[in-house]
């Protein structure tokens, strides 16, 4: 059986990247309004992006590295 949400799935990444045309956007919104499962999947993808970004940003630059970078500045003559 053909997945009725297949087209909606194709539009998910461009939708979340805000690169759909107005027409495509309206099409996606119309499907999402009727389809609980796709709504959840879109929301999951959005949460995943936020979560990945947060997890990946947790490791901060060390104070030592910051000092080393400042020391690379070219002194004024």
């Amino acid at each position: 059986m053909k997945d009725p949400c297949a087209h909606c799935e194709e539009m998910m990444q461009p939708y979340l990247d805000h690169v759909l045309t107005d027409e495509e956007m309206a099409e996606a919104e119309a499907h999402l309004a009727d389809c609980e499962l796709c709504r959840r999947r879109y929301r999951f993808e959005q949460s995943l992006r936020v979560y990945v970004r947060k997890a990946a940003s947790e490791e901060q630059m060390t104070v030592e590295l910051r000092q080393k970078l400042s020391a690379l500045r070219i002194p004024l003559e």
Binding site: D3, A6, E9, M12, Q13, D17, V19, R40, R41, R43, F44, E45, Q46, S47, L48, R49, Y51, V52, R53, A55, A56, S57, E58, E59, Q60, M61, T62, L65, R66, K68, L69, S70, L72, R73, I74, L76
Partner: protein
């Protein structure tokens, strides 16, 4: 003639002054450039950390990037995107130094659809289907190691766009590849990342 002569003398006097003025302006521009670049170092490091394979590699890479940026600051056009300019230096250094493990691009077929990670996590989630909660079943370590398992060509794009907030066009310019390539690598890279995450989630259950 006296008038013309005094004019000449004036001009000769003015030249060292203009030169001094020029040097002062340049010094001021350079200090400002250095300060602007250093103010971005946290953001540059966060991206570098996941472009490189380890914390040590990332630290070295960021230092080399700043050393080079401070030397060639005149090549930066004021008013353009300094963070993108710094990351272009950084990605070039990363490629030049042959740091990338040259893994053959992953050509194994990926999961048939883009929803499998959610489906996988939700179906094993003891009935928990709330999207926020489902995502939290992945640990920070899962995510950091899944990212590092994505082959470099794909990872570079995912890291720049999804972690670094660069537009497709900026990422294309930083990596010197067409925008269409950014889009296809991004799409594939995100899928590879999710497939790595699905694997990590499955391993934890067993």
């Amino acid at each position: 003639m006296a008038l013309a002569l005094s004019g000449t003398v004036d001009r000769v006097d003015a030249e060292p002054e203009e030169e001094a003025q020029r040097l002062a302006t340049e010094a001021r521009d350079r200090v400002r450039f250095e300060e602007d670049a250093l103010a971005l170092s946290d953001q540059v490091y966060r991206v570098a950390r996941h472009l490189a394979n380890s914390r040590e590699d990332a630290e070295e890479l960021v230092q080399e990037t700043y050393a080079r940026a401070f030397r060639s600051w005149r090549q930066f056009t004021p008013g353009t995107n300094l963070r993108a300019w710094l990351l272009r230096i950084l990605t070039n250094l990363n490629i030049d130094r042959g740091r990338r493990q040259q893994r053959a691009p992953q050509m194994t077929p990926l999961e048939a659809n883009d929803y499998f990670l959610y489906d996988r996590l939700a179906e094993n989630g003891d009935g928990v289907s709330d999207e926020q909660r489902v995502v939290e079943r992945l640990s920070q370590d899962d995510i950091v190691s899944a990212l590092s398992a994505v082959p470099h060509d794909f990872r570079d794009v995912v890291v720049l766009v999804d972690l670094g907030d660069f537009s497709y066009a900026d990422a294309a310019q930083i990596l010197d590849i067409p925008v269409g390539t950014v889009m296809s690598r991004l799409h594939r890279g995100r899928r590879i990342l999710k497939s790595e995450l699905a694997e990590a989630a499955t391993e934890e259950e067993t």
